[in-house]
């Protein structure tokens, strides 16, 4: 509003003056002249071109260290006075020459007319077609002519500088990289005015003022003359596709306008197969310590354990924070058997080979934080534990047993979420021994001699010992006298020695060995069982001979069979 008012006032004054001159000329002065009698004078006031009182200059100055970015304005300002009081305009030309009040050969910009003594300004929107350095020539022009040229001086004087956008025509990457290795990101980019920088961001978003990624940065490189590239030195471990967003910016913080700028790109981290260190495989007893010990006669003993640590360069986590290692198996065998002889279902043998492939073997494997915790996607280790049962006749390997030169080993194998598997790795250092397990079944727990007359022998009875542990057996035999008032035995008694035993049938009472109240070892030599459902057995044959004159009665007694290890074959 003040400007408009000022203009109006100026115009009014100008019109008043002109009007006054006309009236004066046609009236008062003409009368005076007439009165002065006919002496005439004339003058023609010529046009005076305006002249700069403040030389044209850029505001702000556009210099070679602080150029004007392409697409931004260069603003020129100047102040001039016109002796005629004419309005004037600022003319910024590309060459040093004007024709009339226009540039002879190209105009950067031209202001509107302003009053004499006022500041005029004009702006030029810089173009990609501009040169880096652009000379300019300033003129102050009224409606009839222009002043002599002025290029200003210093930083704000001619020339102005146009900084061009960097080009960004292509982006390339390693394609795929192994976990925790490096990945080179390369941009095809040039800049005619200075250096360029490449920022590879993890998420979309870039701050030109910083300059830098608004989120995390994969890598960056600055001050490159062209084709900048940077290396992601430690790509993540989890396999999968990773996004990145490239940004090119020049040294004057002017970003590239390419469609590639900030556009999502991806590189892949390869899946690698897991591995298992042999020394990490521990074959453990049901209580976690000591030799493997069987605890169920004629049956499976559950809850033996194999623990191991799976190493995976992809870490223990997937890219979505799931579990990298998804399954594992073990084969457990006595070391007399090779790994290749114990990895198929048909190779199952309860004495010495328990392959995972055998469907009836109750093997359960799962990741175990107790063995080794998974501590995120930088942790390459994770513990696994498998529980499994062993049959009662699995071969012992401790000192004194036939297989003492062997031990029990576990072969472990792990598979990741992409079905890549480790090799089948045998335990070495921490294999284990299987201990002796003495157990037996008796098919019957009574000897019913029936009715036998004095001085007569009973029919032959037998006790069959079945080996239901993993060792061969002998037996200790002892007994009590038979009596009618057992266990007091203060009445009629048949001495225990009247019971004779043989280890082969049909030998008769007289060829048998008399039973005693004292324990006697009998070399039963029952072999170790080798077939689960068909326990090895040895039989003892019994005959009772009733003494002459033995009173009639119902006699009761008790024999004791103590199983013992067949020390000749299974050590003490």
């Amino acid at each position: 509003m003040p400007n408009k008012f000022q203009n109006f006032k100026d115009h009014f004054l100008a019109l008043f003056l002109i009007f006054s001159l006309i009236i004066t000329y046609h009236g008062i002065y003409r009368g005076l002249i007439v009165k002065a009698d006919y002496a005439t004078t004339s003058v023609e006031v010529g046009n005076a071109v305006p002249s700069f009182t403040v030389d044209p200059h850029e505001d702000p100055a556009s210099t070679n260290t602080s150029p004007t970015n392409e697409g931004d304005n260069v603003t020129f300002k100047a102040t001039a006075t016109d002796n005629n009081g004419d309005q004037w305009k600022l003319l910024i030309c590309k060459t040093n020459g004007v024709t009339g009040t226009s540039c002879s050969s190209g105009t950067w910009c031209s202001s509107s007319y302003v009053n004499s003594g006022s500041e005029a300004s004009c702006s030029y929107l810089t173009q990609n077609s501009d040169s880096w350095s652009n000379d300019w020539y300033g003129f102050a022009c009224d409606s009839q002519g222009c002043s002599s040229v002025s290029q200003g001086s210093g930083d704000s004087g001619s020339p102005f500088y146009t900084n061009h956008r960097p080009t960004f025509t292509a982006i390339s990457d390693c394609g795929s990289a192994n976990p925790n290795s490096s990945c080179l990101i390369s941009a095809s980019s040039t800049d005619s005015d200075g250096t360029i920088s490449l920022y590879v961001c993890k998420t979309a978003g870039f701050s030109t003022s910083t300059p830098g990624c608004t989120g995390d940065t994969w890598c960056s490189v600055t001050g490159q003359s062209s084709n900048p590239s940077c290396t992601i030195s430690n790509v993540p471990r989890p396999d999968g596709s990773y996004s990145y967003y490239p940004y090119i910016i020049d040294s004057y913080k002017l970003t590239a306008s390419s469609a590639l700028q900030g556009t999502e790109q991806t590189y892949d981290v390869n899946n690698v197969a897991p591995t298992i260190d042999a020394s990490s495989i521990h074959l453990l007893d049901t209580d976690g310590s000591g030799y493997l010990t069987l605890l169920n006669e004629n049956d499976w003993t559950p809850n033996f354990k194999v623990t191991f640590i799976v190493n995976d360069d992809n870490s223990c986590k997937t890219i979505t924070n799931g579990d990298e290692i998804t399954s594992a198996i073990i084969n457990v065998r006595m070391s007399e058997i090779t790994q290749a002889q114990c990895d198929e279902s048909g190779e199952y043998n309860a004495n010495n080979c328990y392959p995972a492939a055998y469907g009836s073997w109750n093997l359960v494997c799962a990741a175990s934080s107790t063995v080794n915790s998974c501590d995120g996607n930088t942790d390459t280790d994770v513990g696994w534990a498998c529980t499994f049962p062993l049959q009662y006749h699995a071969d012992p390997t401790v000192t004194g047993t036939p297989k003492a030169s062997y031990n029990w080993i576990a072969a472990a194998k792990a598979t990741d979420d992409d079905s890549a598997s480790s090799s089948l790795v045998d335990s070495t250092t921490y294999s284990n021994e299987l201990d002796k397990f003495l157990a037996y079944d008796l098919a019957t727990t009574t000897l019913a001699y029936g009715t036998v007359g004095p001085n007569q022998e009973s029919s032959e009875k037998n006790t069959a010992v079945l080996a239901t542990g993993n060792v061969g057996l002998d037996q200790n035999l002892s007994g009590t006298n038979m009596c009618t008032d057992y266990p007091t035995c203060s009445g009629d008694t048949i001495p225990v020695s009247q019971q004779h035993y043989n280890l082969t049938p049909g030998q008769g009472w007289s060829n048998g060995t008399a039973l005693s109240t004292s324990t006697v070892e009998v070399e039963l030599n029952c072999p170790k069982t080798t077939v689960t459902n068909n326990p090895a057995s040895s039989t003892t044959y019994w005959i009772l001979k009733i003494p002459t004159n033995q009173p009639t009665g119902t006699y009761t007694g008790q024999n004791t069979i103590e199983g013992k290890v067949d020390n000749e074959n299974y050590g003490s």
Binding site: D277, L295, N298, I309, G376, N567
Partner: protein
């Protein structure tokens, strides 16, 4: 074939299939107590599990110790007579051998016999059979102090990278858990535990570390002990060749290769890393100097106050 005959065959089949003779099973695991390294005054314990196949009634177990010269040393945690409860397939007992301080040196061999019998009256007119088993005993008393062990397991616990706080450099703390079976008759720990630390691909040796702290395992016991290693290793994966020494030699089970993963500081929730006691010596000195300075100043202040109070009085 008539319906009547078919019915008879069916009954016969059912009888054969579903009726079993009276079977009884008994066992012991393991069937021995053996120790070659007993020192005078030492105590050795062995767990033996009594096993029954069909525990459908309570049974009385009677034990007889027959180890000439050593009967008095051997006790059973459940006593010489106890009940094997109905329904319990496994009943563990602890055989405890307490060697007198004046025990003659030598071998002691014998057995412990176990006899089981029913608590109910025997079937009249028959000879019942009681089941039992024999535990072989083989002991040797020696006057030598025996340092012997087998390494039964080795693993690394989770490790975090060390960190810097103020001016203090807390090192990376690596903890190895060693499962050790002490075969000797004195407390033991490995003579030395060392780690050769290689890069992940085992292409070059980065450094060697020796355990700085270790706990011990009691005689004849199998237990885990922890070995602590302090280093400046950064987060990453390393290949470790470990050696566990018994005197100058590597112990049985005392050598192997494992990967070690060290995660960045702050990754593991509740992680117990290095403390001020694990700082380098020079930094411990700084802390000590600070403490001394503070105490001195406090002491002077206290002295001054006391003097002032006494003057006022």
């Amino acid at each position: 074939m008539s319906c009547k005959n078919l019915l008879l065959i069916l009954f016969a089949f059912i009888f054969l299939v579903f009726t079993k003779p009276a079977e009884a099973g008994f066992g012991i695991s393991p069937p021995y107590v053996s120790n070659d390294n007993l020192a005078r005054g030492s105590v050795y314990e062995k767990k033996i599990t009594l096993v029954r196949g069909n525990p459908d009634e309570d049974l009385k177990a009677e034990l007889t110790v027959n180890v000439p010269g050593a009967n008095d040393w051997i006790t059973i945690n459940r006593g010489l007579e106890f009940i094997l409860p109905k329904g319990e397939k496994q009943v563990p007992i602890i055989v405890r051998v307490q060697v007198p301080k004046d025990a003659p040196l030598g071998d002691y061999k014998g057995n412990i016999r176990i006899k089981t019998s029913s608590l109910e009256a025997l079937q009249k007119g028959t000879v019942s059979i009681a089941l039992g088993a024999q535990i072989d005993v083989d002991l040797k008393v020696t006057n030598a102090k025996i340092f012997d062990f087998i390494v039964r397991g080795f693993r690394f616990l989770s490790s975090e990278e060390g960190f810097v706080k103020w001016i203090f450099h807390f090192p990376t703390k690596i903890t190895a858990e060693i499962q050790l079976e002490n075969l000797g008759n004195i407390n033991c720990k490995p003579t030395k535990v060392s780690l050769e630390v290689y890069d992940e691909n085992k292409t070059h040796l980065i450094k060697e570390l020796n355990a700085q702290k270790m706990t011990t395992v009691k005689p004849f016991e199998t237990d885990s002990l922890k070995a602590i290693f302090l280093s400046d290793l950064k987060a990453g994966t390393y290949y470790i060749h470990y050696k566990i020494y018994k005197n100058q030699e590597i112990a049985q089970g005392g050598e192997g290769d494992l990967h070690l993963s060290i995660v960045p500081h702050g990754t593991i929730l509740g992680y117990q890393g290095a403390t001020i006691f694990d700082l380098p010596f020079s930094e411990k000195l700084i802390i000590l100097a600070l403490i001394v300075t503070v105490l001195t100043i406090s002491g002077f202040g206290l002295l001054k106050s006391l003097k002032k109070i006494s003057r006022e009085k």
